[in-house]
Structures are given as C-alpha cells and as structure tokens.
Symmetry: C2
Subunit: 412 residues, 2 copies
Amino acid sequence: MKGGPSQEEIRRHNLGTLLRHIHLRGPASRAVLAEGMGLNRSTILALVADLTAAGLVREELPRDTGRRAGRPSLVVRPESTQVYALAFDVGVDRLAAARVGLGGVVLDRREAARPRGAFDPDEVVGALVGFARRLVRKAGRDSVCVGVGAAFPGTVRQSDGMVRFGPNIGVRDLELAPVLARRLGLGLPVAVGNDANLGALAEHERGVGVGCANLIYLHGDVGIGGGLIVGGRLLGGAEGYAGEIGHMVVNPGGRRCDCGSRGCLDAEVGEPTLLEYAGLPADAQAGRDAVRAVVDAADLGDAAARGALHRVGDWLGHGVANLVNIFNPEMIVFGGTLRDIYLGSAAQVRSRLAVQTLAASRERVKLRTADLGDDATLFGAAELAFAEVLADPLEVLTRLRVPGEAPLPAPT
Amino acid sequence: MKGGPSQEEIRRHNLGTLLRHIHLRGPASRAVLAEGMGLNRSTILALVADLTAAGLVREELPRDTGRRAGRPSLVVRPESTQVYALAFDVGVDRLAAARVGLGGVVLDRREAARPRGAFDPDEVVGALVGFARRLVRKAGRDSVCVGVGAAFPGTVRQSDGMVRFGPNIGVRDLELAPVLARRLGLGLPVAVGNDANLGALAEHERGVGVGCANLIYLHGDVGIGGGLIVGGRLLGGAEGYAGEIGHMVVNPGGRRCDCGSRGCLDAEVGEPTLLEYAGLPADAQAGRDAVRAVVDAADLGDAAARGALHRVGDWLGHGVANLVNIFNPEMIVFGGTLRDIYLGSAAQVRSRLAVQTLAASRERVKLRTADLGDDATLFGAAELAFAEVLADPLEVLTRLRVPGEAPLPAPT
C-alpha cells in the first residue's frame, strides 16, 4: 500500500504515457495529447521537448495538410526509423523476425519454414541470430534498438523467461532468454513470452480488440493456446503461466493429449485431430495450409471435411462457453489456424454458447477473428520488447546511448 | 491513457491509502506507516491530522505498553465504534446482517434461518431492514454509517447492482439494490455483489489469502460459486458476472443443472448431488448440517458417504484442475460447504490435479480452506460497503456528516 508518487515519478510516468499514446494511437497534436492525458498544454510542451531531445519523437506538419484553411498544427510523431525493437516468433512450422519501429511500423522482416520434428535449440537460436544480424545491418547507424522480444509456443516463466514446457514443439526447461541474449550480443536482455499471450496483447493493442478491456484470444498453431486480457492487462497469474486454455479438459476420458492428460481442448480441437477426422492419412501434409484445405473442402460440400469441422467446432464451443462463464469477456478472438476453424464451425460454437452459458454473461460477448492474422504473435513480441522504453523512456535511452552520441535532457 | 495526478489527487490518494492500511492491517505507529507507504514523516503527520480531525482515526498509546523501557510511540487506530458499515448476507438457508466498524470489527450482528422455496423479495428485504433498524438503533448517536453492502447468491450487474440470475434461490432480474436502499432510508446507496466474489475479497483481505495476489475462492452454498482475485484485484469481467465457475461444464452430458445446461460443476458437486449419492431420501433434511453429516459419516467409515464424497470430489478435482491451467493461481480456497466437502475428498482433488494440470502451473499452488468460515461472504459485503470511504475518505464524510456535527478539515 504505497503512498502517492513524487514529482520526478510523475514526470517519468507522464513521459511514458505520452510516448505510449503516440506509439499505439499514432501521431497527434499537442492539443490532442493534452486532452487525452488530462494535462495542461505547458506540461505537454515540456514533455514533448524532453522526448524530442532524447530522439524518441519529432514534431512536424501533418501529412494531410491542405484540406483545411489556416495554419495546421504540428503533430508529434514517433521516430520510427531511429528507435526500434527486434521481435522474434518461434512457431512450430515457422521462424520469423522483424525490426519494428516505435509506433509499430514493421521496417524489415525475415521468415523461414521450420521442419517439424526434434527441437534443436542451437539451430533455432542460430537461425534467429542470423535474422537479427541482417535486420540490424540494414538499420541506420544512428538508430537504436531499445528491446528484444520473442514469442514461443510453450509456458514461459515470467521472472526469467525460462520456457518450462512446450509439448507441441517438444521442449522442456529451455533457457531461451539468456542464450539468445548472449548470442545476439546487443547488450540487451531478451523478453520471452508465450505465443498466445503475446497474440492477445497484440490484438488488444493493435488489432480487433483495441478499446476492449476484457478479451480472450485463442490461438491455433498445432495445438491451442490462450491469452487473457482482464481489466485491460494481460493475465499472467502467479508465475506467468496463466492462459493454458488448451489444457482445460472439455471431454473427460477423451483423446490423449501431449501434456499427458486426456480430453484437453488442445487434443479435441488441435490440427492433428481435425486432419484425422477429415480422413487425411497420418503422413499427409500437415500445417496451416492443410487446415485451410479442410475448411475450403467443407465450404465446397465435402462431407468428411464438414463432419470434421462439426466435431471439432462442438468441442471448441464447449471450451469457449466455459470461458464466457468464468470471465464474462467482451470479446473472444480466434487467431492462427483457429481463425479458419472458427469460420468453418461458427454454428457449432454459437450453439454451445447458447446452451452452456448464463444469459447475462453471453448477451454482449462478441466472437471475432484476429485482425493481425499470422503476425499477431510476432507483433506481440514487438510490444513486449517496447514495454520497458514505454514505461520509462529516458532511463532506458540513457542506459543504451553512449553519452554525447545523441542529446539527452538532464534529469530535472 | 491519463497523465499523472494533481497534488490534490495525490493527497486524497494518500488519505485513502493510509486509512486502508489501518483498516486492513490494524493500528500502526506513524513510523510504521511512513515506512509502509514510502512517505516521509511530515507527510504522514499531516495525513493523520486530517483523518483524526475527520473522526476516522485517533492516536493513542498502544495497549500492550509496559513491556519495553522508554516512552512507547503512539499508534494510529481506526475509530471502529464511530465509523461503521452495514453488511448483509442473503444465503439460500440463512439471512445475516452485521454492523461492522472501520478496521473490520463486528460490533453487532443478527441472523435468521430462511426456509427454502419460493423467493419473496418483499419478505427478504423486510427481514434485512428489520435487522438494520435494530443494528443502527444500538449504534452511538454520534457514529456514522459510511456504506451498505449485500452479498447475494446470483450474478449481479456491476453498474447498478441488479441481480440477473440466482438459480439456487429462484431469482431472475431482481432490483435488490434500489429497493433495499429506499426501505433502509439511510440516504445511502446499497452495493450488491455476488456472494462468492465477496467471499474471495474477504479471504484475500482478511482471511487465508492475505498477501496472495492470485487466488481462486470456491464457495459452496446449495450450488457452487466462484470468486477470482487476479493481480490483487477482484475479477469482474465486462459487466461484473465473472467467476461463474459453478457453470463450467466438467462432465458433458452429465447431470442436469438449474441453469438449463448439463454437467456443470454446480450440478456434479452441489449439495443435492452429494446427498443423493450418499443415499439420503429426497425429502431428507438438507443444508449445511446435512453436508457435514455426510462428511462425518465418511470419516467413521460409512461406505455410501465415502463413495459419495469420492464421486463429488473427483468432479471438483476436474474443475480445480481446469482453473489451475487457466489462471496459474497461488492458492485455491474452499469455502462454505465446500470447506467440508474438500476436507472429505482432498485425495480425489489432488489426484486430478496431478494428472490434469501442467507441472509448471501446479507446482506452487496451495489448496486451503477458508479462514472466515460461514462469514466470508458477510465480511466481503462489509468490505464492499467500506470501499468508497477508503477510496476518498474526506469526500464521503463531508457528504454524510451534517456540517458542525463533527469536525472536518477544510479542503486545502
């Protein structure tokens, strides 16, 4: 139970809030910022001056001038090409990396397919480091990397980024964060997060869930992951493992799951189950395209594909109904392969909701597909990477920039 | 994205935080408060002076003086007999009310059994108002009631306290808050909350879960309710309906539930199910004592009672396992009749946890019974009633007290 903040803490908070505003909502005039933050114009002027001197924002004429008469107001823009984060996304089938500028602009990206099978940490870290080298080489010499974030399909301990368990990718107790940080050699720590948690964050901050404080994101890769936004914040739980919705048992005694249990949402709705129900041979091509092919076939009237989506969608509906009763969310977002699976089985999901949820809890819930598509998890990793500079911009830049290289305001 | 607070907002925040500290943790010296709140002693001195002038706290010698040499420090105490809240608890079998002093002291209480069967709002409100009259009559003439809270076994809309659905007590769309407020005639609004949510709040603030930021409270009355503390706060969801854990389907196609669905935790674990499995005739005595009798019989070796607890405990374990995977909580608290049911079936619950949760999520979770016993929901209603005065002490008192009747500091 802490007392109120000091003047210096308030200034740092305000600098972070202003930068966050520009980062998430885009360029804005000082008047708009004053209104949005409930601060007077002279305070905003001082904050913008500090952030400008630090090289985080600049003021310039808006790009759509000429429409209105009179002199247009300057807008405060993020220095997107000068201040960037590195984002990595480890998927079961894919590795991706991006250099993302302040403001969420993807400046450059790299991507490669990953063969399924045994997970070789050296190989994966090596590939990510290779991506990073090429991304950093193309950045301007006076630009600065303010953070590194990585999405991983497993449970991740919040305190140190240790990957505890990733059954779909065959990983247990992997020290990804320190190994990747060391091999990157950027002098920056790496923040690692569960892929679905980061997908939830991205859809909440930049996707279909902007402005929605209570949102559940369900992510299909091979298995099913979940990320929970409650009261506007990502739910981590005691150690960061919250959101393992894929291992909620919906069908006791049902299909065996890689986690060792039976009847988990993951086992009843995951990719291998859908493909098996659709009658595809066990050695058939798997992955995102295979899931899409089943949904397309169902659209064209294929009975096996329809039956498969019906069965899988019914269990998906069981899971979603439980979540609606437990969380009273405003929105459920289906991402990754669940985007296609949901679109092909929405009737089953909705019919389970109608029967298995309390009327009060379901009457306002919206079911939506992810806006950011396959990149939700990568964008979420970028947001994780930006978190520190948005919390305390000057402290982070002071630490990263060699004194004299870029002007920084003296602390007041 | 709001900017930092003004000086006046900081002062109000600090007044509330100090009062909350005293209210929840008990009397403390100014030095302890300065340390705990991270403020300097002169700021604490001013805050204590304001709260003392408002009649909310007083400073006096600690009660255990004489043990140590030297002059003991004064401690700041809540004015428990002068500043109180009214708390109501509507249970399926019981109505209870208490006058609770600042600091959480029960000054006086009333309780009556309630026959099961049709819910008559007039009768229930009449009984609560009768309790309140007797409680208020015994309060000192210069004391002040700062809030009224009520716990109800149903889903409650946060915005206006409307009870949307209480299947175990036979209620739908009941305007409890305004009706009770009008008939009490105290000039105060009534804050209504779901009973299990308020039980969670009470166990988190005054019970077994003090200091535990991620806690799940499971409450057994006739059915099963839940309350979720995440990141130190009660999870309300979009409209306050979150925590309907009793209507999570654990056994698809299982026992019919009063909500209209099948296989809900409520239906598989609730009191009628336990009593039926234990072989009690349908017209036998029900209620808390009947549940305890089954648990006692099982302890003495009764095979039917043991079998009943085994079956019910197994489904309880299914539900708890799902919650551990979804929330990664630090603690699960079993309250109401679930206290006894859990004690009689802990082996089943633990064995489901061992099989159906991820190792990372379960390795630190503690399973506990409620400290506050049958009064957790009543104490939670009191905390709900105190919430406003703890958020902004002087504003609330200025509104409630006729000027001149008690000294109030002028706003600075």
